[in-house]
């Protein structure tokens, strides 16, 4: 379960002006639940996900994931938690271009403390890439790359899947397939999912929807550039 309270994050910009980006009173995401957060591009949604993933440190506030106080962890412990308990899908997928699909999964697994080739192959099979395991991202279609990113995010059986505009680079058909696959896999592994998007089509695919402007107190007053 994810529990966030009084979370604040801002950045010092040029001219020494402090620009608040995220300010959230409270947010709770129960185990196995899926939520879609919708809002305009550049409004701080990615920063919010990066805070949950431990890629950024909050200025204030608390983040608990499965009872672990993420905000109190050292960087190396946050790294390990990210490797084992959090799956992250980026808009541009962030696949390792010089590695094959299988290697992309094995590398992610190795940071989580295990690298089981059979399991990685099974996961690629599950996302329909049985025949593309040794292909590098550059030799795959965008839809296939997105499925590699999904497989990689879920390979360590995380309790939370974060997805940042995951269908932004896909056509309508691929986007639909991808969303279905994501929901299906999260349901089967029991992972919670938080997806952020500005695309109404994506948002409507989820029962539980939250408007970023309602969640983020900063957004009520201004929009980040």
């Amino acid at each position: 379960m994810l529990h966030i309270s009084n979370l604040k994050k801002g950045f010092q910009r040029t001219g020494e002006i402090f620009l608040p980006v995220v300010s959230i009173d409270e947010l709770v995401l129960e185990k196995s639940k899926m939520v879609a957060i919708h809002g305009e591009s550049g409004s701080g949604k990615t920063t919010f996900l990066n805070l949950i993933a431990g890629l950024l440190v909050p200025d204030e506030g608390k983040i608990y994931l499965d009872g672990i106080a993420l905000h109190e962890l050292t960087e190396s412990k946050r790294d390990f938690l990210r490797a084992t308990s959090i799956g992250y899908i980026f808009q541009s997928f962030h696949l390792l271009q010089s590695c094959s699909a299988l290697e992309n999964l094995l590398i992610a697994m190795s940071f989580g403390g295990q690298a089981n080739q059979a399991k990685a192959k099974e996961m690629l099979d599950l996302v329909g890439l049985k025949d593309r395991m040794s292909h590098k991202p550059g030799d795959m279609s965008v839809g296939q790359q997105q499925r590699v990113a999904l497989a990689r995010a879920l390979i360590n059986q995380p309790s939370l899947l974060l997805a940042d505009e995951p269908t932004g680079n896909l056509d309508a058909q691929n986007a639909q397939n991808s969303l279905n696959l994501m929901k299906e896999l999260c349901a089967s592994t029991g992972a919670s999912m938080m997806i952020v998007s500005h695309d109404p089509y994506v948002i409507h695919a989820f029962d539980h929807q939250v408007a970023w402007d309602d969640l983020n107190l900063v957004s009520k007053h201004q929009t980040c550039s």
């Binding site: 190396s76 490797a83 541009s92």
Partner: protein, 406 residues
């Protein structure tokens, strides 16, 4: 195979090497050149001294005409350089019967066959003298040593291999030490034996009776009672007394003794050259280290995105900076191993040149303790080259790299 721990670091480091194959090759090549040159300089100097000192054919001293000790040794034991002059035959008789002289063999030079020297001596040199402790010269099957009063020859194995002389072959010697067609003597010599290889200068000459050289057709009649040098084996402290007698008190002949220290002073004259080569090797090593740093820096710039992705997947700062250090160590390691290959190639050619020109056989290539030191030093250079870029990566903020790549 990708596994947690060092395995994943090694995998990523090797990927880095492969991705920047050209600059990696350049770094490896430069380091290999530096290591190979340094090791060769050290090893060849050491090995050449050893080989020459062990190629004095079992003699302790040489009695020659007044002149340079080094020239006498090079001419009579290594069969290079010209003789400083001749000695009267009486000098041989005197020294042969001097107390403390164990063996004395006269030699006479001044003729060649196709550029290979004819060395006139007594047959006992080939039958009784130990050219190495416990080793007498051996003649290949079917052959024998020449008779002292007949125009017969025993051919060194190197010469036999080079010009194809075999038992029963006949040849005309040529006057002087350098081959000139017009200097052909009328005398005809018959090959009666081929020496087994010894790895000493004895392999690259043609041995004939001393009377043959002295009485060769066309030679000055005064040559018939002179010789070029006397090769000596000594007992006890005879060297000191003979040195005193010939070099300090006399003015008839020069006693080239001791052979080893005379050769050593010869090599010392070239020690500056070794230092120059070592300096060059050091400079190349610095260039190699700089290439490693530049390779890593350019690799880092291009891999910024990759490192950011790895951090997103859970890689710690330590893992990422370890990848950089290991990549540097891999380049250094390949460089050091290739350095041994370079050393081998240089050793091969230098050995060949020395053998062709002096007959001195160098040891086969081997890696010794200096090789281990150089290997360690190269790894240290690799480590030092990798630390700075690794620190930069370690300090880099993930959010900055993410911003650049998202």
């Amino acid at each position: 195979m990708i596994r947690p721990g060092l395995s994943i670091v090694l995998f990523l480091a090797l990927r880095g090497v492969r991705k920047h194959a050209f600059s990696s090759f350049l770094a490896i090549f430069t380091i290999a050149m530096a290591a190979g040159l340094f090791l060769s300089t050290w090893k060849i100097n050491d090995e050449t001294r050893r080989a020459f000192n062990h190629s004095s054919s079992g003699f302790d001293a040489v009695l020659g005409a007044r002149g340079s000790k080094l020239q006498i040794i090079l001419n009579s034991l290594f069969h290079i350089e010209a003789s400083p002059g001749n000695l009267p035959w009486e000098q041989y008789e005197i020294i042969k019967n001097t107390k403390g002289v164990k063996e004395a063999y006269p030699i006479a030079v001044g003729d060649n066959y196709l550029g290979y020297r004819l060395v006139g001596t007594e047959p006992e040199l080939l039958t009784h003298h130990e050219w190495k402790s416990g080793h007498l010269y051996e003649i290949q099957a079917g052959g024998r040593v020449f008779s002292p009063l007949v125009k017969e020859a025993v051919v060194g194995s190197f010469v036999a291999g080079k010009i194809g002389l075999q038992g029963g072959d006949q040849f005309h010697p040529y006057h002087c030490l350098n081959f000139k067609e017009e200097n052909k003597h009328r005398d005809i010599y018959v090959v009666v034996g081929i020496l087994e290889a010894t790895g000493t200068p004895a392999d690259r000459v043609i041995w004939v009776p001393i009377k043959g050289i002295q009485l060769m057709d066309g030679h000055d009649k005064s040559m018939s009672h002179s010789l070029s040098a006397v090769l000596l084996s000594l007992k006890g402290a005879a060297g000191f007394s003979l040195d005193m007698k010939y070099n300090k008190q006399g003015n008839v002949a020069t006693m080239a003794w001791p052979v080893a220290s005379t050769l050593s002073s010869f090599f010392d004259k070239f020690s500056w050259f070794q230092k120059v080569l070592e300096l060059v090797a050091g400079m190349i090593a610095i260039v190699g280290a700089l290439i490693i740093v530049l390779t890593l820096r350019s690799s880092m710039n291009e891999r910024r995105r990759e490192f950011a992705i790895l951090r997103c997947l859970g890689a710690s700062r330590q893992v990422i900076s370890s990848v950089i250090v290991l990549q540097s160590l891999i380049l250094a390691c390949f460089g050091a191993f290739s350095g041994f290959l370079f050393q081998y190639i240089i050793h091969f050619f230098v050995s060949y040149i020395i053998r062709e020109n002096t007959g001195v056989l160098m040891h086969d290539f081997s890696v010794d303790i200096m090789g281990a030191y150089v290997f360690g030093a190269v790894l240290l250079i690799g480590l030092a080259s990798g630390v700075l870029p690794a620190l930069q990566v370690y300090k880099a903020e993930l959010s900055e790299n993410l911003k650049q790549n998202t």
